[in-house]
Amino acid sequence: MKTAEIVVQKNGTMEPQPRRRTNLLHSVTGQRMTGSEILLKALGDEEVEVIFGYPGGVVLGLYDALHRKAPPFKHILIRHEQGGTHAADGYARATGRTGVVLVTSGPGATNTVTGIATAYMDSIPLVILTGQVPAGLIGNDAFQEADIVGITRPITKHSYLVKDVQDLEQAVHEAFYIAKTGRPGPVLLDLPKDMLFAKSRYEGQRKIRIPGYNPVGDGQRQRIAEAAALLNEAKRPLIYAGGGVILGGAASELTELALKSGIPVTTTLMGLGAFPGNTEQSLGMLGMHGTWYANMAVSECDVLLAIGARFDDRVTGRLDGFSPKSKKIHIDIDPSCVNKNVKVELPIVGHVKSILPELTKLARPLKISGWRQQIATWRSTHPLRYRMREDKIMPQFVLEKISEVTNGDAIVVTDVGQHQMWAAQYCTFNRPRSWLTSGGLGTMGYGFPAAMGAAIGCPDRDVICICGDGGFQMTTFELATAVEYKVPVKVLILNNGYLGMVRQWQELFYGGRYSHSELGSGNPDFVMLAQSYGAIGYRGEKPDDVMPVLKQAMRIKDRPVVMEFLVAQEENVYPMVPAGAALTEMVDTDQPVA
């Protein structure tokens, strides 16, 4: 029977220790206090630094406790629970810590659903605290009651309805443990109002014992040796790295393996930054809007090493055409990911951070200059390119300039759509946790609040958010939060007056019938909108405006900046793998190679 018996050390490490018991003598062990106070104390013990919250009826007691005695963490008052959940998500992705959200019952809780689903699809550690009507009223259709545990069951890693105040402390510690370990994910705690007023003793101990949850694995030695043998014999090997490398904190381990063996590296949308992008060895992103050379490499390789990736449909294209000539090695922490979509010859289940060094020890520098030459040829015949115009700002141009203006050091956050794909193609990422985007769920409105959360978590880094005019309007209201807390996020709106990606598909596959994808007639004046909140607004209309506006914006350090660039209206993202096509059936732009 699998059991994880963990004692959490006060310094916050959460690795399983072999049966060492440390009695934490907490300063308030044994004291009687209300559920609200227990919750705040437990959050402090978990070393939470920031929570994003919005008060309401059933959590008034909790907010009163927050007011009476300042907790060791900061509470950010957001303006909509969806914005708050995305902010906690962005915070988690940028810092590597667990994001925390606090909302009230009913509509407060249901407003977090999109944000929770976004985090679930991308495996982001979040703890969502939702107030709930008193336990006795549950099921009575009470005022502001919603079965949030039921509603979020398919999109949470685990959830708790804490009816008894004596279970609260343990539930909080378990929730944080589950959210962060194994394959991370959102965990929800539903907290009835009466439970938060009831009193119990504070234990001050963090003993986690969850039979049935044992997330740590080291991969099998035998398998790792087999994988190394396969790689060392390969003539055309390729590394396919996904978000799991970044979540597992294994970017430097991956880089070491790649540099030692010389194997070319392509990453998924979620894996950008896992391997430095500014090298010849990096092939950029693969998949539906990946680079030509990455997709060709995947299709022609003879050994594919998949690390922390899940063979998502955006990456594979038509399954029977995906990497047909290769033997596949798959390193992942989640056994249910293995052989889910694509049959893999050599699965290795375990933590990528501990498996990769073992593999690197056995790997050898490979003599694959023929393969490298082939890839270089693909790169020179089909580079990423676009038509530069004198009269209109090209979206790709703006994105190329971002890396220049920030020295490749900023955190780049995107919303969803064409701009997201262009950012993935044209921005360069050299370190992990520099690229935040909603990949799995593709949530419009994610970008701006997530950027705000990232900036709050990493005040010493520049944070740039790239949005379209559509996505920005979904969560604009968080400008108020950013202004209040002096968060210097730089928001870049690539305004083409359309729902760009939808328009592209309508142009290519629906005979150019733009059904309800035009936004221009209703769009606000984004500069005035920003100013009305107390943020700074700039507009750029010509290509020569781009650099001056960007440079000006980067100088502002005490409030958000919104830069609206009017860009070319009918640009398409290329290359593109049409739906149902194989990766080799890419359509590239007809723009000639320079």
């Binding site: 069951r153 039979p211 049935g212 249910s336």
Partner: protein, 162 residues
Amino acid sequence: MKHTISVYFHNNFNALSRIIGLFSGRGFNIDSVSFGEAKEKGMARMTITTRGDEQIIEQINNQLDKIVDVVKVVDLTYTPFVERELALIKVKSTPDTRAEITEVVNVFRAKIIDISPETLTIEVTGKKDKVIAAIGMLNPFGLLEVARTGTVALKREFTGAT
């Protein structure tokens, strides 16, 4: 191919919903489910029979295992195991047909557990095919209601070799 999966988990309503929700959410197939308290306090055992090819079954097992409240998942299909189902069958019965029905009941070693001037209620336990056969044999008499449980199963411990 039919598979019988035994899931051992912490007994709370949340875990139960997650397990069943997993099947519907991911488009897996449930032929039957039975669930009840297990030996240890606070734990429960659920037996699920499902159909699918090897890849689907592996997915089902892995996804079930992922659920935090689930402690153990055993796919009994390839090991020797015992399985039983129970059915309560209410049959139309007049004094003329009662003897015939009783004959059928005896063949299946079933029991008559309720009697009325117009009906007989019969309890049958056994493997799935036996239960189906019993219902089939009683059908001509006129079935009024049938209540069936899912399959329960446990691994066989001794297969005879020493």
